[in-house]
């Protein structure tokens, strides 16, 4: 490749220069088969960036105090200089919206274009979670709809009522997603789906579920008197409702909460839809950032090799890149958990190394990919995994060694902490396993499902928390139950279950004479 003249030098930018760089990057990206949505690159001021941050990057959003809180804390951090406004904010939409801050230097703008417009963008388009769970082309329209709808509700029912409802929904939004069940692929025909939803709602209206007179069981006549002393006629032997535990609490409430008004159901639905939209992002932090970082690094180096950027820009870039992927140790005052940029970048870079120049260790650990085509393998890894499985599959001994990972067990039955594994032959697999679990959303968030709605009795709702390794629920549980109670309208109960046994019970409202259940 012939060395070309740099498109621009120095730190000032203008639109022509940005467009030229964007085209150069696009050309290189095509070479690397980065398939992207069209890019909509918006130049904004730092104040607008703070606005964008406060609304999680969404170009439009409904109004809620929590976004105001977010804005105030971003503003505070920015003023104190604790936080340079991070340089990238990108939205999984079609076209993919990315923001460039006007204060940034030319290098920064090129870096963001490479990182966000080609790194993240191709991840959004390629990764299976995003492909199956979100509809990039419809999200902006949906946001506009949500904002208008909620504003209309505020007009009609008062800001306070809507705010209360949103508070309750937000408390449960992490439980407003289908986790284990894959949703049916989202069809482009949002309109017809909405139609269906309305019909579904009408059905719940006629559903006999909540008819005040309990219908006798058809099997009652044949049913022999059974030996339950409390229920000799077997009136309560109807099987639970719902017959299967429900993971999606908001969905269950939207469809089954007895007292919600139609507009309230629609708002529950809006929060649920948006939670579902963000769900893949929460599961692919390491991969997404790693992928984008790997590509900005690769693309910047290519541009330097081709002569499109000069030494000045390259040096500035390397300095910025190094701080992005730095990983302070656990005992460093700046330590704030594992840096997803560092881990993801290390892993993708290492996959490339394993493909390009494998050693014996790599051949033993990764027989399938050692020596294969690196670009092919990288795309495969990006497309078919989420953090949990990506780490399980691709975390190599070399990365564990480089980051000096170790795993620590904290058991409340043990008076000391124990080092379970370190970066040695005996430890690699265990660390990989433990890290994979650490990124599994199912282990990060308590596993809580709807267990039973007592439709024949007091209409109480019972949830089950499947307790994992004796980890109890945190104190924030009661405020959440209160919100849940507001939505359901009748008492809510929560049981923590471990190994098939109920270990703790919670209830809201707290019953008047606190009765200890045996």
């Amino acid at each position: 490749m012939t060395r070309r003249k740099p498109i621009a030098t120095g730190s000032d930018w203008n639109f022509e220069v940005l467009e030229a760089y964007e085209q150069a990057i696009a050309e290189l990206a095509r070479e690397y088969r980065l398939d992207t949505y069209p890019n909509q690159i918006e130049i904004i001021t730092s104040e607008q960036m703070m606005d964008a941050y406060a609304s999680v990057g969404m170009p439009v959003g409904y109004h809620h105090w929590s976004f105001g809180k977010q804005f105030l804390s971003v503003e505070q951090a920015y003023r104190r200089g604790q936080m340079g406004l991070a340089y990238e904010l990108v939205i999984n939409s079609d076209p993919c919206i990315a923001y460039l801050m006007e204060e940034n230097s030319l290098m920064m703008q090129i870096l963001v274009i490479a990182h966000a417009c080609y790194g993240h963008n191709s991840f959004f388009k390629g990764n299976y979670l995003f492909r199956t769970w979100t509809d990039a082309s419809a999200i902006v329209d949906y946001l506009v709809f949500a904002r208008k709808y909620i504003a209309k509700c505020e007009e009609r029912h008062g800001v306070a009522a809507v705010e209360q409802l949103l508070d309750a929904c937000h408390a449960l939004q992490n439980y407003g997603v289908d986790r284990y069940k894959r949703p049916s692929p989202i069809s482009a025909e949002a309109e017809s789906r909405r139609q269906e939803e309305r019909e579904a709602y009408l059905q719940t209206q006629v559903n006999t579920l909540w008819s005040t007179i309990p219908t006798p069981s058809s099997g009652l006549a044949q049913a022999p008197l059974h030996d339950d002393e409390n229920d000799p006629l077997g009136l309560h032997r109807h099987g639970r409702y719902p017959s299967e535990p429900q993971e999606n609490l908001l969905y269950f409430l939207e469809k089954n909460a007895p007292l919600l008004e139609p507009w309230q159901r629609e708002i529950v639905r809006i929060v649920r839809k948006l939670a579902q939209y963000f769900y893949p992002q929460r599961q692919t932090q390491v991969m997404n950032e790693g992928w984008a970082t790997f590509w900005h690094y690769t693309l910047m180096n290519r541009m330097y090799d081709d002569g499109l950027i000069d030494e000045g820009i390259m040096l500035e870039f390397l300095q910025s890149h190094t701080s992005v992927v730095s990983q302070p140790g656990f005992d460093n005052p700046y330590f704030n958990g594992l840096n997803p940029y560092a881990l993801g970048f290390a892993m993708f870079s290492d996959i490339k190394r394993i493909c390009d120049s494998p050693n014996d260790e790599d051949r033993e650990w990764f027989p399938d990919i050692a020596g294969s085509d690196w670009l092919e393998t990288l795309h495969f890894a990006m497309q078919n995994f989420k953090d949990e499985s990506f780490i399980q599959q691709f975390l190599s001994p070399k990365v564990i060694r480089d980051l000096k990972l170790f795993s620590l067990v904290d058991d409340d039955r043990d008076d000391a902490l124990q080092i379970e594994a370190i970066h040695d032959d005996r430890g690699y697999r265990r660390i990989r396993e433990a890290l994979s679990v650490q990124y599994a959303l199912s282990a990060r968030e308590p596993n809580i499902q709807v267990w039973e709605a007592d439709i024949r009795g007091d209409r109480s709702l019972t949830m089950r928390h499947v307790q994992d390794r004796r980890r109890p629920l945190g104190q924030s549980l009661f405020p959440v139950l209160r919100h849940l109670h507001q939505l359901w309208g009748f008492p809510v109960k929560l049981e923590s279950v471990e190994d098939g046994e109920i270990v703790r019970r919670y209830q809201w409202p707290i019953p008047e004479p606190v009765r200890e259940s045996a």
Partner: protein, 426 residues
């Protein structure tokens, strides 16, 4: 396919609504924080925004989370000396050291503070929340001398700068149509008559009639052509009238006793009170002027610096200050144009015989002109003759006269609030 959009010209306060919602929701928290900071800080600092912190747990958004306890495994980077199987003492204070999960989890940890900055406007809103200026309304409704130009329709006379082009052109068009219509009708008739005449058998034609008609046509065409496109009659002007405007300016008289008995501490308390009042007036009026009058046995109008910081000694004659204020009002601030406020701070000492003079002065000359008179007595001691005299004034003008006692600096804000509390309107 990529495209750039310059969004910089767009509005920047997209979050303003959400911000207001947040402030509204935590009103009571913020108010408490603002009140504390007003008491704690020097009031001269109130001009700028204020950093406010409220307990994070009060504004947390709850969600289901793991609590401390049970068995958990954390993978961390940066191992230096650990080997497999090492056992470490649990760090004291708080459950497991697991921060591997990264992001903000508010699991029982100490009282974190949520800190943010209120803008100056927002801060003052909170400071003066629930306060109102007494009789602001009455004064504003009174018709005053000051006027402002207001649009008042269209007129036929005016200066060229105020020509209303659309209306003028419309007039012109109407005039043209109106003036041309009869001429055109006559022209048409003449043309028809001419045509009729010319179609006749040559024997029957009347040449004189034809000439006559031709002349007539020529005359009419000339007249139509001479109708002007735009005439002076057509011109219309935007008309302005001068409307009397409610006064939106206030003057605040600060009266302070600087006799020997007033210490610097007393003066500081007084200063804070004046500052609060000034800020408050500033929010309600477009223009606020300050007049400083200090007195011992004689009163003098001074500048701010001298007012607060120069020292004097001697006895106290309060009426001297009231007399001076009265003459200043008469000389410079006509009550029809200005909203007049008087704030007086003193330690309550006065020359024995003077208090009755004060009562007379206030009752007869000052109070009828004033919007509001506030008196703060900075003393831990029992009241003296001046307080009693003022008490009589208060009885006579309960709506417009207020007095309170201040013992120490912390009392200022509550006293200020008491003086300007929103009164239930009947």
């Amino acid at each position: 396919m990529s495209y750039f959009i310059d969004r910089r010209p767009n509005a920047r306060n997209k979050s303003a609504v959400n911000r207001q919602r947040f402030l509204q929701r935590y009103r009571s928290h913020i108010k408490r924080a603002v009140e504390e900071s007003v008491n704690r800080r020097s009031i001269t600092d109130m001009e700028r925004g204020e950093k406010v912190s409220i307990p994070a747990k009060d504004i947390s958004e709850p969600s289901f989370q793991h609590g401390p306890g049970g068995r958990r495994t954390v993978v961390s980077p940066g191992n230096k000396e650990f080997a497999e199987g090492d056992r470490l003492r649990r760090p004291s204070g708080g459950g497991g050291g697991g921060s591997g999960e990264g992001q903000a989890s508010d699991q029982g940890e100490g009282v974190d503070e949520f800190v943010f900055t209120l803008s100056r406007e927002e801060f003052l809103d909170f400071v003066f929340d629930g306060l109102e200026l007494p009789h602001l309304e009455r004064k504003q409704l009174r018709v005053l001398e000051e006027t402002r130009p207001v649009r008042a329709g269209i007129s036929k006379e005016g200066v060229p700068a105020r020509i209303n082009i659309v209306r003028s052109m419309r007039e012109a068009q109407a005039r043209r149509i109106g003036m041309k219509a009869p001429l055109k009708r006559a022209l048409r008739e003449a043309c028809e008559a001419l045509a009729l005449e010319e179609r006749k058998d040559p024997v029957l034609r009347n040449p004189a009639r034809i000439d006559e008609l031709k002349l007539e046509i020529e005359r009419l065409e000339k007249r139509i052509a001479s109708i002007p496109f735009l005439d002076t009659y057509d011109l219309r002007y935007n008309h302005l009238t001068h409307q009397p405007m409610p006064s939106n300016q206030a003057v605040m008289f600060c009266i302070m006793d600087v006799s020997g008995s007033m210490t610097q501490a007393h003066k500081d308390i007084g200063k804070r009170f004046f500052l609060l009042l000034y800020l408050f007036l500033e929010r309600n009026y477009e223009k606020v002027e300050l007049v400083f009058v200090r007195h011992h046995t004689v009163a003098k109008e001074v500048d701010e610096e001298e007012f607060f910081y120069s020292r004097e000694t001697g006895g106290t004659i309060v009426s001297s200050a009231l007399t001076l204020v009265n003459s200043i009002i008469e000389a410079r601030y006509a009550p029809e144009e200005w909203n007049l406020y008087v704030a007086q701070a003193s330690d309550g000492d006065n020359w024995d015989d003077d208090s009755s003079t004060c009562l007379e002065l206030l009752d007869e000359s000052l109070m009828p002109k004033l919007q509001y008179f506030t008196y703060v007595e900075i003393t831990p001691h029992a009241h003296q003759a001046l307080w009693e005299a003022y008490d009589t004034v208060k009885a006579a003008y309960p709506e417009r006269f207020a007095m309170q006692q201040i013992v120490q600096a912390e009392d200022i804000y509550p006293v200020f609030r008491e003086l300007f509390r929103q009164r239930a309107q009947s």
